[in-house]
């Protein structure tokens, strides 16, 4: 089993790989843009009224734009490694500055969604797993299958129509008041809850049927004691690892859900950046999403190692 340094080395290599993939894609995006890059950059720097062939030539000479694609690619990646993400083509603000602003909103939404998912999913899964084949188990199976077949945007649509428009309970979109977070968070949470409930159910059913579980009962522990001391700890580590892999779906959900509900976060920014062909912003948001996944999974690796020191990986 890999030790602590092994895990961190793997995550570091993964982070470098993510940055490289995003860098290559962003470079290709720049190359695919129509028009002369020198004029575009000159326009971004000096304003559209001040662009002349002279200014464009100066930019070309300064940034070495005639050096060919390979040299440009080297420069692009070097900027990336120095965390120089450049400026947004649309707003003119540094990309890092914009993203730092949006990340707060996205984290707020994701944390609320994750809390709701954790409150619904694993407890239901554990209850169903303790009585595998029971009524709750079968209902949960059908509900989870239905939710899986429901993409997040469709779920969001149903929730908006049912809870915001018809019942008038919650605001359908916007940002600012506390009530605004409920619908987008619920949309994100239900999908995550369905997945984690299924996994928790399978893990719990496996543990509940095991010999050490039967032995703990036989020596006279109450149901609650057996569950707390022998059940939950055993399912926690693989469940955490599973949740870590689900973050990529959370990130994907964030893109769609933020756009639908007008939540001013990273996903919203990404869609707008793509719409306006704002490549530095696309690169920045993509990088934050990819690296966020790696960092969260590194933390989960460490937490799972604390919970289960034997180093079981799911």
């Amino acid at each position: 089993m890999r030790g602590l340094t092994g895990i961190l080395a793997f995550r570091l290599a993964q982070a470098a790989g993510v940055a490289l993939v995003v860098g290559v894609m962003s470079f290709l995006m720049i190359q695919a843009m129509p028009g002369d890059a020198a004029y575009r950059i000159a326009a971004a720097r000096y304003g559209y009224d001040m662009v002349s062939s002279q200014a464009a030539d100066a930019v070309r000479a300064e940034l070495n734009l005639d050096a060919g694609a390979l040299a440009q690619f080297g420069g692009w990646i070097a900027d990336l490694l120095r965390f120089d993400l450049g400026r947004s083509v649309v707003s003119g603000e540094p990309v890092a500055h914009e993203i730092a602003h949006q990340l707060g909103a996205t984290l707020h939404l994701s944390v609320v969604a994750l809390l709701i998912a954790l409150l619904i999913g694993p407890p239901l899964g554990v209850l169903a797993g303790l009585r595998a084949g029971g009524l709750l188990d079968r209902v949960l199976l059908v509900a989870a299958a239905g939710l899986r077949a429901m993409p997040q945007f469709l779920l969001g649509l149903v929730l908006i129509v049912a809870l915001a428009v018809e019942a008038g309970l919650l605001p359908s979109a916007g940002h600012g008041r506390a009530a605004h977070v409920v619908l987008p968070a619920l949309t994100l949470a239900l999908g995550l809850a369905a997945g984690s409930a299924r996994i928790a159910r399978d893990l719990m059913a496996g543990i509940a049927a095991s010999q050490h579980y039967a032995f703990a009962r036989m020596k006279g522990l109450s149901d609650g004691q057996v569950l707390r001391h022998h059940g939950l700890r055993n399912i926690a580590a693989p469940l955490l690892t599973y949740l870590g892999l689900q973050f990529v779906f959370l990130a994907e959900g964030v893109v769609v859900v933020e756009t639908i509900f007008g939540w001013p976060g990273i996903g919203h920014a990404l869609i707008h950046a793509v719409f306006h062909r704002d490549v530095p912003m696309v690169q920045g948001t993509a990088l934050v999403m990819g690296l966020g996944f790696v960092v969260l999974n590194a933390l989960i690796d460490l937490a799972a190692g604390r919970i289960d020191p034997r180093g079981v990986t799911a």
Binding site: L154, V255, A286, M289, L291
Partner: protein, 259 residues
């Protein structure tokens, strides 16, 4: 239970595919012809499912939207499967640095959401159809790669492969007779989830208006176009929603019980 739900899944999927293939043959209006007088009108002989907000036949638009989604999704997943299985066998066969390098590439792409890949491809490639195909395939090959590598690694060191090599059988024979039976069974689940994911991704981006551009019928885009008139014509909005849901449900049922 699993056999039955599996059959329901196939029946639903074949029904949807059948509708998408056959409907345009019975349709004279086409998906783009507008007749604003009939906007949001109910069904008639020319448009059995009624009209949308611009008076276009929903029957025709639904069939073409399903064709588009199914074509892109199957093409993307098939490409991902071929690339993933090929690289997976290569990694398990050669081991060493090839295995490690491919594993690192897979782990790096794994951190990036599929929608993000599609969006980035959309800027690079000329059409959204190509972008969906390339972006989805670029993410999905990892699943096939990992399944294949795991299944093959165990067999590669086993006596069957060694015996076949000693007898002089080539790589193609070993792949077909020894490795394929290991990969095949898990493939159906991965393919079904792959196609379902692709269809959901196409609809999701259509829904937030960065998918396939406007006049071309597409499920997510149809939903968002019809949404403002859902009080006047709830049946019109329900059609793309139901088509999308049935399609995804059928694929999930085919994939099998394990979520």
């Amino acid at each position: 239970m699993s056999l039955r739900s599996d059959r329901i899944g196939w029946a639903l999927l074949l029904a949807v595919i059948g509708f998408a293939l056959l409907a345009p043959a019975f349709d004279q209006t086409g998906p783009l012809k507008q007749s604003l007088l009939k906007a949001l009108a109910g069904p008639d002989a020319a448009a059995p499912f009624g009209y949308d907000h611009l008076g276009r036949s929903l029957f025709s638009r639904l069939a073409h939207a399903l064709r588009l989604s199914l074509t892109i999704a199957f093409a993307a997943t098939a490409t991902a499967a071929v690339v993933g299985i090929g690289l997976g066998v290569l990694a398990a066969w050669r081991g060493g640095w090839i295995d490690r390098a491919l594993g690192l590439v897979a782990d790096s792409v794994l951190a990036l959401p599929a929608l993000l890949m599609v969006l980035m491809m959309g800027v690079i490639l000329p059409g959204m159809g190509a972008a969906f195909w390339a972006g989805i395939a670029a993410v999905q090959w990892i699943e096939f790669f990992r399944l294949t590598r795991r299944a093959c690694r165990a067999v590669m060191d086993g006596p069957a492969v060694e015996a076949a090599r000693i007898q002089g059988f080539g790589p193609a024979w070993i792949f077909r007779r020894i490795l394929w039976p290991e990969i095949g069974p898990v493939l159906r689940t991965a393919m079904a989830f792959g196609v379902a994911g692709a269809i959901a991704a196409i609809a999701a981006l259509g829904f937030v208006s960065v998918g396939v551009p406007a006049p071309t019928p597409e499920l997510g885009q149809m939903m968002v176009e019809l949404l403002p008139s859902w009080r006047e014509a709830p049946v019109a909005v329900a059609q793309p929603v139901a088509a999308c849901f049935v399609l995804l449900l059928s694929l999930n049922l085919i994939a099998g019980g394990r979520a």
